[in-house]
Symmetry: C2
Subunit: 531 residues, 2 copies
Amino acid sequence: MTDKSNKLKARLPRGLVDRAPAEIASTRAMLEKIRAVYELYGFEPVETPAIEYTDALGKFLPDQDRPNEGVFSFQDDDEQWLSLRYDLTAPLARYVAENFDALPKPYRSYREGWVFRNEKPGPGRYRQFMQFDADTVGSASMAADAEICMMAADTMEALGLRGQYVVKVNNRKVLDGVMEAIGLSGDENAARRLTVLRALDKYDRLGEAGVAALLGPGRKDDSGDFTKGADLEKQQIEYLVKFISIASTINSSIREEEATLTERSGRSSKIGEQNFYESNRALLTVLPQQVPLVETGYDGLEELMQLCVLCDAASYSPIQIRFDPSVVRGLEYYTGPVYEVELLLETKDEKGRPVRFGSVGGGGRYDGLVSRFRGEPVPATGFSIGVSRLAAALALVNKRDAQQSFGPVVVTVFDQDRIADYQRMVAELRAANIRAEMYLGSGKFNPQMKYADKRNAPCVVIQGSDEKNDAAGEQVIVKDLVLGAELSKLEKGRDEYLQKQAEAQRKVPRDQLVKTVQEILARHGVKTRVA
Amino acid sequence: MTDKSNKLKARLPRGLVDRAPAEIASTRAMLEKIRAVYELYGFEPVETPAIEYTDALGKFLPDQDRPNEGVFSFQDDDEQWLSLRYDLTAPLARYVAENFDALPKPYRSYREGWVFRNEKPGPGRYRQFMQFDADTVGSASMAADAEICMMAADTMEALGLRGQYVVKVNNRKVLDGVMEAIGLSGDENAARRLTVLRALDKYDRLGEAGVAALLGPGRKDDSGDFTKGADLEKQQIEYLVKFISIASTINSSIREEEATLTERSGRSSKIGEQNFYESNRALLTVLPQQVPLVETGYDGLEELMQLCVLCDAASYSPIQIRFDPSVVRGLEYYTGPVYEVELLLETKDEKGRPVRFGSVGGGGRYDGLVSRFRGEPVPATGFSIGVSRLAAALALVNKRDAQQSFGPVVVTVFDQDRIADYQRMVAELRAANIRAEMYLGSGKFNPQMKYADKRNAPCVVIQGSDEKNDAAGEQVIVKDLVLGAELSKLEKGRDEYLQKQAEAQRKVPRDQLVKTVQEILARHGVKTRVA
C-alpha cells in the first residue's frame, strides 16, 4: 500500500470541484435568505433524488435507443436506463405527476440541489452545480408568473442587491409570433427554431453582426471554433435582426432618457423612477408598431401586459421587473412568459475587459412538462437560481464586508504523558461554548505554534511542568496570537510594546483558564457560539 | 403530447425516494445541531463532488477491468471509469491527498452529503441516502479517536437523546489478535477474515447458533435465502463463539449489577453510575484473562485503555462511551479503534416484536486510506452518521413534541377581473412578514376554501363586490379557519357558539387587513417570520 511507485493519483475528473469552508459558509447563509423569501410566499420544500429514469427526464433518444450524451447515464440491473438529473424541473414534473391527487392545486414548491451535465467544462462551467428552484404547478394564470417575478426580485433585495439587479421578462409567444411571421412554424422547423432562439439569445454578447452570422451559414469565434448557423434566407435574417435590435434600441433610449432626467434632477431616483415607471407599457405598445407580428405574438404581448399590471399593483417598478424582448432562454420547453435575473454589477471577462455580471437565474412557463405524464394539460411556471454564480456575485459585492473569522482556540501539548490534562482543558472550554481543540499531532512546540497560526487561532493555551508545579499553585499560559502579531510590528522596548507584551502572554491560575480565554476572545470581537 | 395512450409513466427507480416538507424541515434542524457541535470541536466544513474516478474510490476491480457492481459507474469521454461516491470517507482521502501541503495537519473536517449504493434496496435501505461525517487526518494519537467518541456523545446529547444512546468502542487489533490466534492472519486469509467479521457483527441479532452457522458452512434465513459461511473448522468456531459470547456475558452481568444497584438505591443513576464508572477498565482487564490473545490483541487493548483514560479525564461516563468487544463494523479498511453509536430506544421489527433502534452511526481509524495516494503513512480516524436513520429515531422521540404547523394565509379570488386588488393584499401581508399567497387556480369559491383547508391555512381573506363597495367604505372579510373548525363541533345557537361565530368571521375596513390577520395568527400562536 505504501509503495511509492504504485501509488494512486489523487485527482478529480474535469469539470468537478471541491468546496472550501468560506464558500460553504457563504453559500449556506445565502440559501437561508432565499429560503426565507420563498417560505414567505407560501412555497413549501420538496426534494427528489439525484437519479431518475432517463425517459422521465425526457433525455432518452428513442430513434437511437440510448440516452442523450449530455446526461450521465447508466443501466440498472433490469437493463433500464437511469440518468443523473440535469436540472430540477424535469424531476419536479415527474414528482407532481406521480403525486397529483394528493397535492394541493395550484401547487407551490421550492427545492435546492445538485444537478449534473455531461458537457464540456469551461471557466465557470462545471459538470456538477447547484440550483435553487421554485415552481407553481396547476395555474394558467399570469398571476402565477407575476408572483415568480416578484419573488425573484424580493430574493435579490433580501440578498442586499437593491439597484444592482433587474428581472427581465419576455414571452415565448412573442418570439413564436416573430418566427411564424417569417415562415418558421410547424413541427418540421422545430430544430431550426431552436437554433434561431439560441442565436437571438447571444445578441447582448455578439451584437448584430454576430447574430446575423448565426442566423445565416454560421460563425467562427475568436478561438477559431465554428458554430453552424440556422441557414436562413437574407430576408428572414433582416426581419429578425430588426426585431432584436429595435427592442434593444427602445430599451437604450428609455435608459438614456432616465439617465438624463436623473442627472438633471440632481437626485439618483425619484424623477427618473416616475418616468421610468411607464417604460414597460411603452415598450409593449411600441414594439408591434415597429415589427409586424402574427396573432400568437399579440397573445404574448397581451399576457405580458397582464403581468405588468399585477407587478404595478404590488408596487414593483420597472427598475426591478422589466419587459425585455431580447430575453430568449434557450430551453425548448418554455411555452409562455420567460424570465431572467440579470446582475448589473461590473466584473471582468476572460480578457480583463469590464462586463456586466449577467444572468444568475431564469425560468418561465412550461405548460407541457407535466402533461407528458398526465395525458391532460397541466400548466406550470417556475424559476431557477444558479447558486454558484449568485454566490460568486455576492462574494464580489460583499468583499468589503468580509470580516476576519477566527479558528478555534488551540490547547498545545507540552508533555505527551499529560494529554489527559490538556483534554480536560479543551472539554472545559467547549463546555463554555468556546470553539476549541487540543493539538493532536506529534510535533514539538514550534510546529504546534505554526499549526495554531495556520488554523487562525485567536489564542493558544500552554502548560509546561513549570506552570503545572508553580509554587503559587497550578498555572496556565494563555497567549493572544492577534496581539502577538501586532507586537511583531512595533519597535521593541517602547511603552506600547511593553504593555502589549504583557497583555499578549498571560500566566493565570488554572481555574481562570476559561475566564481568561473569554476575555481575549471578547477583546477581538470573537463571538462564542450559542448552542 | 397529451395523447393518453402514449403517455410516460411517472415513477422512480426502486430504492429511491422523494422527501416531503416535514422530513426536510426536521432533517434540516437536526443537521444544524450536529454542525454546531462539530464546529465547537474546531472541525471545519469541506465538500467534495458526488462523482469521482472509480479507482480513487477503491472500487475498480483490476482483475476484471471494471468497477465493482455495488457502485453506480459510467465511462467518461476518455473511456475512464467514473462512479458515484458510496460513502464520504474515500472522497475525503482523495481530497486530503490532493491538497496535502496546503492543509493544516492534523486536519479536522466535517461534511454532509448524499451517497449512492447500487445494492438491493429493502425496508429502510435506499440506493441514495445522506451521511454526515467528521474526520481527523494526520494524527496517530488515541486522543483523536477519543475526541471523535466524545463528539459523537455530545451530538446525541445536543439532539436531546441523553440516556437513550451509547457510543460503543472496540479495536480492530483486538479482533485481528483473535483471528491471528486461530491461524487466520496473512493476505491469503483476507477475504475469509472479512466473512468472519461480518458474521461476528450479527451476534446481537442472530445469537450464538446463527453466528456459528455463518462461521461454518453457512446459514439459511427465515425467508429461505442461504448465506455462504466462512467454512472454518470446529475448533476455530468454538474459540470465536467463546470470545464473542464472553464479551457479551461480561457486558450483561455489569448491566445487571448496575440495574440492581440502581433499583436498590431507589434513584435512577448516581450509585449505578459510580459503580458502572469502572466497567470499561474491568472489561479491558477481564477479557484477556478469559480468551488468550496474541500480541496484536494486547496492543489493541492498550489503545482502548488510553482512550478510556482520556474520556474519563473529560468526564464522560461509560453510560455514554463504553468498550464493547462485540462491535465489529464490517468495513475492510479499519485499522484501530472502531466506534458505533447505538440508540437504546425501543421500536418494532418487521414482525412487530420490540427491538432496540440500534446503530445510527459509526466509524473508526483507517490509517491506510490516504496513504494509498501518498506513498507514506497518513493516520486518520473518522465517524459517520446515517442521517435518515437518526432522523427517523428523532421522529420517534419527538412525536409528543410535534406541534401543529400552519400553512400560509390564503387570499381568495372572488372576482377574476380584480386579481390586481387581491395581489396588492398579498403583497401587504408579505411585507408585514406574514406567510401569504393568493389563490392561483381557476376554481370558484368552494374549491378555494377546500384548497385553503388542504394548505392548512390559519385564515382566509375574502372580498366580494359587496365588501368592495360597502357604504361604510371598502371592507374585507377575514375568516379564522381554526375557530371555524372548532365551531363545527359545537351545538348551534349556544352562547359559546354565537360568540365564536362572531370571532370566526370578521368584516373589517380594508386598511385593517394586516392588523386583523396578525390578531388571528397571534390567537393561534403562529409566529410571523422574521427576515
